[in-house]
């Protein structure tokens, strides 16, 4: 449905050039919800705008539904008007001088589509029904709440029956509670319509909740594409691992195949790295088993719980190891008393990365 090949783009500013996209390759299948995830400034918006035709990439090729809409070597650039896309902007871009109805109807009446008045009426009503805004047709746009604006933007984008729906952080302007509700509604809604969605966000929770597939972007490069679970459990590098939830980082050296000497002791883990190389190890807090008595399994260490933070549906423990490294542990269920404790890490939950990425780690530490 959406195919992006080797797209690059620079911005020329007074301070110099910014390489916003450096060779993006991406495929989005028909009917899929694809989430583009990355820190702010990683180039997500730029990529989305290139797709919409609001920016012109320097090189590469973009096609929509099999039609090339941009190609630098064939000198093709289809203007945004002819790409038949729906887009929800981060600011929602609800035209403030129009009512809700007029906002949704304007693209139907002013664009090249020749629709009869009746069809326009029906389409607008249908779209407003989808987003549950019936009855607000006459409301002037400035009188809408943030959540309502977001719905109008969505209705406007859907009313034109777009080839694909582009959304740029559509929930970032809503408050946290509303965001959660809208998130699940949104997935339900677009699945019902069956429209292809390319969704941009910097919030990994949103990505996990919404995506069929997700891509992690950083510094204008796509680091990993896959199901959210894949990115969570099998991150290809430190940046991806770091971005998805919290991580306990350990430094170590592979002493023999499958054995890593670390700050807290010897760990058994599968690793592709060769013997002798320096590595970093990522362990997610929820992959750590905590118990008051030793179980005798491999990868078990002794420590002391120094603090417990009760966070409602789970608790967070800080465990002091013998070598004074602190480890975070997340656990559901009844709290464990402070004091001596044993923690164990299952072998298949340990991710091992080459040490050369350490520099980026120590920066964050």
């Amino acid at each position: 449905m959406i195919a992006i090949r080797n797209v690059t783009m620079k911005f020329h500013t007074k301070q110099g050039t910014v390489q916003a996209l450096q060779g993006i390759d991406l495929q989005v299948e028909r009917g899929e919800i694809f989430v583009l995830l990355g820190r702010s400034g990683s180039g997500k918006t730029t990529l989305l705008r290139c797709l919409a035709g609001l920016e012109k990439p320097d090189t590469g090729q973009i096609s929509l539904a099999g039609k090339v809409v941009f190609s630098d070597c064939e000198r093709i650039f289809v203007p945004p008007q002819e790409r038949e896309l729906g887009m929800v902007f981060q600011s929602y871009a609800i035209w403030p001088h129009l009512t809700v109805f007029e906002n949704v109807a304007l693209p139907l009446t002013q664009a090249k589509r020749k629709l009869s008045k009746q069809v326009v009426q029906d389409r607008v009503r249908e779209a407003l029904q989808l987003v549950q805004l019936e009855g607000l047709e006459k409301r002037p746009a400035p009188l809408l709440s943030g959540g309502q604006q977001q719905r109008v933007a969505l209705a406007r984008a859907l009313a034109i029956k777009p080839q694909a729906l582009l959304m740029d952080e559509p929930l970032s302007n809503l408050d946290a509670r509303l965001r959660e509700d809208v998130r699940s509604e949104l997935r339900e809604l677009v699945k019902k319509i069956g429209v292809t969605v390319l969704y941009v966000t910097h919030d990994q929770v949103e990505a996990m909740a919404l995506a069929d597939r997700t891509a992690m972007m950083d510094h204008g490069v796509i680091l990993q594409v896959g199901h959210p679970q894949e990115l969570y459990h099998q991150p290809v590098n430190v940046t991806v691992a770091e971005f998805f939830g919290s991580v306990n980082w350990l430094e170590g050296r592979i002493t023999e195949a499958g054995v890593i000497k670390t700050e807290i002791g010897t760990l058994h883990a599968d690793s592709a790295s060769s013997v002798g190389s320096q590595v970093v190890i990522a362990i997610r807090p929820e992959d750590i088993q905590l118990s008051a008595s030793p179980s005798g399994n491999a990868n078990e260490f002794e420590g002391e719980i120094v603090s417990t933070t009760f966070l409602g549906d789970y608790s967070l423990y800080q465990v002091q190891t013998r070598t004074s490294k602190r480890i975070l542990k997340k656990a559901m269920g009844s709290p464990i008393a402070p004091g001596k404790a044993y923690f164990q890490i299952s072998k298949d939950r340990i991710r091992v990365f080459y040490n050369r990425e350490l520099s980026s780690l120590s920066r964050k530490a």
Partner: protein, 578 residues
């Protein structure tokens, strides 16, 4: 079919609708280029007999003539005094309105904005009636006292005209400096007071230094207006042979005797352009640093109000004194003299001479033509100006073209170059270059074109700032949903720009209505405007009759002013532009 589609796709980005807007913007850019190049060109061109030659003779003559330096000195003195007087009244007034508990603020604010609309030729005339060495009422009073002949005040000097011009521009100073005071974060002043500085120390050491960049920008801007000013030097100085640069240029192309010297005018204009551009650069540097102190705080704050207490009557006296001197006194003099056969000191016996004779003696036919032309211009010029500046604004603010800087510079040219230069150049172009195939000289179209060009900066800067405030995504949302560019303009941008467009339109209409500088060069019997007709009468020395004509000009203007006041209320347009 397929090929057609392909072709459209390939050349699409080159030939899309944006070309229309760029095309619209290129028209004024081209016209400005022509006018400025022609002025440079004629400065080198000598008309000796039939053959034309090129030389530096005009420059030599200009720079060897002591008269030039006299005019330069006059211009400098005139402009400096203008700035001093404008700031002397404008800054305290702005401070009083923005930072003290003076109430109601709306009265001085409204009067200041309305004062901007009073044509300066009116106040100039009023002051002539008051202070002319021969006929001025005050002089008559002074010399009436035995032994006081020496105290006669002569307003027809560079400092005298500067004071009057400065009184007129205090409004501009007020409007330019007000935002500086309004946006000033009170924490600086509070910090000073907490640390023991007293009121005047705080004012002197904190408030004014913080306002300094904004004040400097206003000062340079007013100085530039002074250099280019025509109305007051013409109304007061011309008949007394006291010239500043604009009137110096004026007599070179409209000499009282002899032939017009276009080469000299060209050389003077080139000098004037260079000076103006220097000041423009300075102005921009000042403007940039005036944002340096802008304090970015998340929370909004209200500037703290200084309590005036027992100083309040003095504050009102100051403001009242300004309005009296700046507007009331000269304007009432104008009315008084329009009703008299010759200037007289107000008295009961003079009251016996009051009549409408001056109005009856006016050349009604000419004034009617003038009124008609003025009306046509006041409607067409703002419309054309808006059309072009909308195109320019869009290219500068929105297009993202690399060449937008070039358009930005050109849209600013009419602001930097004194208007009389465009008029002189346009006269030359239409008489000597176009007359063969486009006999535009002497028609209202010539005035229309030049007016449109000279107000372009004003309108473009106004629209630029309005356009910047409209979130770009509002247009992009329309583009993505398939709405073509020109429709985006009509359906999204125009309605959102509505208030700014209306405001700008009215301002340009008012500026056009009272315009004298360009008209004094380009108006003939056929395309005469109301101010030009009045100017003709004044030039021929019939002062009371000219006053009557001026009052007619104002009478027609009043409804327009009220319309503006009703619609605009606030000085938003001016504030954004300056």
């Amino acid at each position: 079919m397929r090929r057609a589609v392909l072709r459209r796709l390939v050349i699409g980005p080159l030939l899309d609708r944006r070309t229309v807007l760029v095309g619209i913007s290129l028209i004024p850019v081209a016209a400005l280029t022509v006018l400025v190049s022609v002025i440079v060109w004629i400065s080198f061109r000598q008309l000796a007999g039939a053959a034309a030659g090129y030389s530096l003779d005009a420059y030599r003559e200009l720079y060897l003539d002591p008269f030039t330096y006299k005019a330069l000195l006059n211009t400098a003195v005139f402009s400096l005094i203008t700035v001093a007087v404008a700031l002397l009244f404008g800054i305290p007034a702005a401070w009083l309105v923005e930072r003290t508990d003076l109430r109601p603020k709306e009265i001085p604010q409204t009067l200041m904005v309305l004062g901007l609309l009073i044509p300066s030729f009116l106040t100039g005339m009023g002051w002539v009636f008051l202070l002319n060495p021969r006929i001025g009422i005050i002089n008559t009073l002074i010399t009436g006292i035995p032994g006081m002949e020496w105290a006669r005040i002569n307003v027809a000097t560079a400092p005298g005209m500067g004071i009057i011009q400065g009184l007129g521009l205090a409004n501009v100073a007020f409007i330019m400096v007000s935002p500086t005071f309004r946006a000033m974060n009170p924490v600086f002043e509070e910090a000073a007071e907490v640390h023991g500085l007293r009121f005047f120390q705080t004012l002197h050491k904190v408030t004014l230094p913080l306002a300094y960049p904004g004040v400097l920008a206003a000062a340079i801007y007013i100085f530039m207006i002074g250099v280019a000013a025509f109305d007051i030097p013409a109304v007061i100085g011309l008949s007394n042979r006291v010239f500043t640069f604009s009137t110096f240029l004026y007599i070179q192309v409209q000499p009282l005797d002899g032939l017009p010297r276009h080469d000299l005018a060209g050389a003077s204009a080139v000098l004037m352009i260079c000076i103006s551009l220097l000041f423009l650069c300075w102005y921009y540097r000042a403007l940039k640093s005036s944002h340096r102190y802008a304090v970015v705080t998340g929370q909004s704050y209200r500037p703290r109000q200084v309590e005036l207490g027992r100083w309040k009557p003095w504050a009102w006296a100051f403001l009242g004194g300004y309005f009296l001197l700046g507007q009331l006194l000269p304007l009432s003099m104008l009315v008084w003299n329009a009703l008299l056969p010759y200037p007289q000191v107000p008295s009961l016996s003079a009251l016996g001479h009051v009549s409408l004779n001056n109005f009856r003696a006016l050349p009604i036919h000419q004034l009617l033509i003038g009124a008609q032309n003025t009306f046509i211009l006041a409607v067409s010029v703002p419309t054309l100006t808006l059309l072009f500046s909308l195109g320019l604004s869009w290219v500068v603010v929105r297009s993202g073209f690399r060449s937008r800087f070039f358009f930005d510079v050109f849209s600013f040219l009419p602001h930097a170059v004194p208007h009389i230069i465009f008029a002189v150049s346009a006269a030359y172009v239409s008489i000597f270059l176009l007359s063969g195939f486009l006999p535009i000289y002497g028609t209202i179209y010539l005035l229309m074109a030049v007016y449109t060009l000279v107000w372009l900066s004003f309108a473009t800067r106004n629209l630029n700032s309005a356009l910047i405030q409209i979130h770009k995504e509002l247009e992009e949302a329309a583009a993505v949903s398939g709405i073509p560019l020109l429709r985006i303009l009509r359906k999204i941008l125009l309605p959102l720009l509505g208030p700014a467009l209306l405001n700008t339109w009215l301002w340009v209409a008012l500026l056009t209505y009272r315009e004298l500088t360009v008209a004094s060069i380009l108006a003939t019997t056929r395309n005469i405007t109301l101010p030009a007709a009045m100017w003709g009468i004044w030039l021929s020395g019939l002062y009371p009759k000219a006053a009557a004509a001026a009052l007619l000009v104002v009478a027609v203007m009043v409804p327009l002013v009220f319309l503006y006041w009703y619609v605009g209320r606030r000085a938003t347009a001016m504030e954004r532009t300056l």
